[in-house]
Amino acid sequence: MFHWLEKNPFLFAVGVFIVIAFAGLIEIVPNFAEASRPVIGTKPYSTLELAGRQVYIKNSCNACHSQLIRPFKSETDRYGHYSLSGEYAYDRPFLWGSKRTGPDLHRVGNYRTTEWHENHMKDPKSIVPTTIMPGYPWMFTTNADIDTAYAEQLTVAQFFGVPYNKPVPMKDGSTTVVKMGKSIKEARELALEEAKKVAADMKDQDVKDAVARGEIPEIVALIAYLNSLK
């Protein structure tokens, strides 16, 4: 029946390609414009938050923590309002995860504080005695990569039109502007300014000293990011 095709490798390969490409075209393409539109109240990440997001990714936090609240009572009871597509409009990459070894973090900024994260990241057992999460103490002594975060902001602004330095609508009807530096120097200053606010709520003296010196440890950036998840 198909013997002729099996003697013609070129046509065979073309046939296979059409058959496998078909589903992708129909499922993926139509959704593109629709899904990437932000909901009101969703704003781009600041330089420090983005640096924190890179720390999150570097350590594969997404291997154990999801950022996707499904529309079930048990999940909205535990984590807050179920996730909306537009809330992810500035997430490149998405960080939904596929395994919840630890709890979901999509709205962790609503119910955890800077101080909680500080203690928990240094030694999770001090907060949750039977936890299986390891500590991440090196984040207190390694500095965050602010320059790369700035490069990422520039990239998404230039290639994908992410609205930095532009008014973004908020839920209460007001607008807010997420600032992005005009140069590396200004970007570092903006990040440091934000880092000082986070460090003010922290206890670790070495971290406070580092920030006072103008350095930004990874933990400060990470907490800024986690606090932004609402």
Binding site: N31, A35, S83, S85, I132, P134, G135, V156, Q158
Partner: protein, 497 residues
């Protein structure tokens, strides 16, 4: 000249056999280690606080998945291609200096690529997308390796003597095309060094870093279209290519039904790609897509079982071989695990089941009965069949092979049963409410209860790894110390006691 039988050249096949075994050990050992880290978290710092950054669960997890998928499995795919391809096309690699050069080049670039992956993942360079964690320079290297493999496939086909392409070749071609398409589209990313600041500064920050071309829900959609179909085109399609060649060869039986193989092949090609949406049930992707993913996952049972049944019926009337040969055992159990896992998957893709199963260890269990039982066993069987023919020696030990089979089978059973219980337990506890309508358990309650199952799972993995060491030893002894065989055995591989 023309009257002599063809002398096939297995140089490249042997090279990839070596990486199959080495990367298999690396990937599985990391897997066992991180499995025990979940059971005994103290292991995260077992190499010292200073190294904890590189040895904790989260940093190692992508290394495990990538080492077994793109190290062990892809090496196995390449090794079998450079063996099977020549034989079913009736042409020797030695006949083309060009193809031999391309094959060796592919191998060395692959080795360099693997080294770059290992180093960069340890350092924390990752895009975070599962099974596509590599940053853009490595992506480019991977594309080059893949194109070289394409040159090998179509080059060998171009100079073939056997005009009709055997079923295995269909599946290898599909593997090549499928992975190429998926990998390219999922890894579309913009290196951040391309951006310039308003002040005119360029090449800012880390040159390895990149941003995904897709955002949020779209990114998830593309990623799971990729992630699911990477399972199709790395863990299913090429493994079927192997079993269609090695089972009839080793058993001396003809394939049960040509029509069934046609139906399964084209059915699998068409249906598989739709099913990716089942990874995103109850997420923010449109409902119709989720439903399509669910429905097509169930339909997927047909072509999957088509292949598996075709394999099992190939053994019709020859079942005594299953008892007699551990090599046949590996392949028959592989197709059985294939049936098992392709029934379990669609069940998990049903929305109401997925509501409980998603995000839990049941999914991890499902992946592993497929990979350990089907992929692992089939690649092991393929290498066992190839070894006497490429080394021209008798397989070192049949009894070691049988011991390996039973140890690994026990390991798999421990693995998936513990993960079933763990997954369903946790899924049910997450959703449990008490009589007042409040959540019955805090999150940590649902973690504490998993400890015994995590310990069992680690033990299952350890048994499988132990079996894999026996395999490596058996192949090594076959290669170095055993009796030479003059004439190649047509079917049942020669084995020492």
């Amino acid at each position: 000249m023309e009257n002599r039988p063809l002398e096939y050249d297995y140089t490249v096949a042997k090279m990839f056999m070596l990486t199959t075994i080495i990367l298999g050990i690396v990937g599985m050992a990391i897997g066992v280690f991180i499995a025990f880290e979940l059971a005994f978290p103290g292991l995260n710092t077992v190499f010292g606080e200073g190294l904890a950054e590189y040895t904790n669960f989260s940093r190692l997890r992508p290394l495990h998945t990538d080492a077994v998928a793109f190290g062990f499995t892809v090496s196995g795919i390449f090794a079998t291609w450079f063996y099977v391809g020549q034989r079913v096309l009736k042409v020797s690699m030695a006949e083309s200096k060009f193809l031999m050069f391309i094959g060796k080049l592919q191998f060395w670039l692959y080795v360099i690529g693997v080294a770059a992956v290992v180093v960069s993942l340890f350092m924390g360079y990752t895009t975070s997308k599962e099974y596509a964690e590599f940053e853009w320079p490595i992506d480019i290297a991977i594309v080059v390796v893949w194109v070289l493999w394409g040159v090998s496939i179509f080059g060998l086909i171009g100079i073939r003597r056997e005009k009709s392409l055997y079923i295995s070749v269909w599946y290898y071609i599909a593997t090549f095309l499928g992975v190429a398409m998926l990998y390219l589209f999922n890894n579309m990313e913009v290196p951040t060094m391309l951006a310039t600041s308003p002040a005119g500064e360029g090449a800012i920050g880390d040159w390895m870093h990149s941003v995904s071309m897709y955002a949020g829900t779209n990114d998830a959609l593309v990623q799971w279209w990729y992630g699911h179909n990477a399972v199709a085109f790395v863990f299913t399609v090429p493994i079927i290519a192997m079993i269609y060649y090695f089972l009839p060869k080793e058993s001396g039986q003809a394939i049960y039904s040509y029509k069934l193989s046609l139906l399964s092949f084209w059915g699998l090609m068409f249906v598989y790609l739709w099913a990716g949406g089942h990874h995103l049930l109850f997420s923010t992707v449109p409902d119709w897509m989720q439903t399509m993913g669910s429905i097509f996952s169930v339909i997927l049972i047909l072509p999957s079982w088509g292949s598996a049944i075709n394999m099992l019926l190939t053994m019709k009337g020859e079942w005594q071989q299953v008892a007699a040969s551990p090599l046949i055992k590996f392949m028959v159990l592989a197709s059985t695990f294939y049936m098992f896992s392709t029934l379990e998957g669609p069940i998990q893709a049903i929305k109401s089941v997925n509501a409980i199963a998603h995000f839990t260890d049941w999914i991890v269990g499902h992946v592993h009965d497929g990979t350990l039982g089907w992929v692992g066993f089939m690649i092991i069987a393929a290498l066992y069949h190839m070894a006497p023919r490429v080394f021209k020696r008798e397989l070192y030990s049949k009894s070691l092979m049988a011991a390996q089979f039973w140890i690994q089978t026990l390991g798999i059973v421990l693995y998936f049963t513990s993960m079933w219980i763990a997954g369903i337990t946790q899924g049910m506890m997450w959703r449990a409410h008490d009589e007042f309508g409040n959540l019955a358990y805090s999150f940590i309650d649902t973690v504490d209860v998993l400890h015994p199952y995590y310990a069992l799972r680690g033990t299952g993995g350890l048994l499988y790894l132990a079996g894999f060491f026996i395999f490596a030893y058996n192949i090594y002894k076959t290669w170095t110390s055993n009796k030479e065989v003059d004439a190649e055995r047509l079917n049942a591989s020669p084995m020492g006691a």
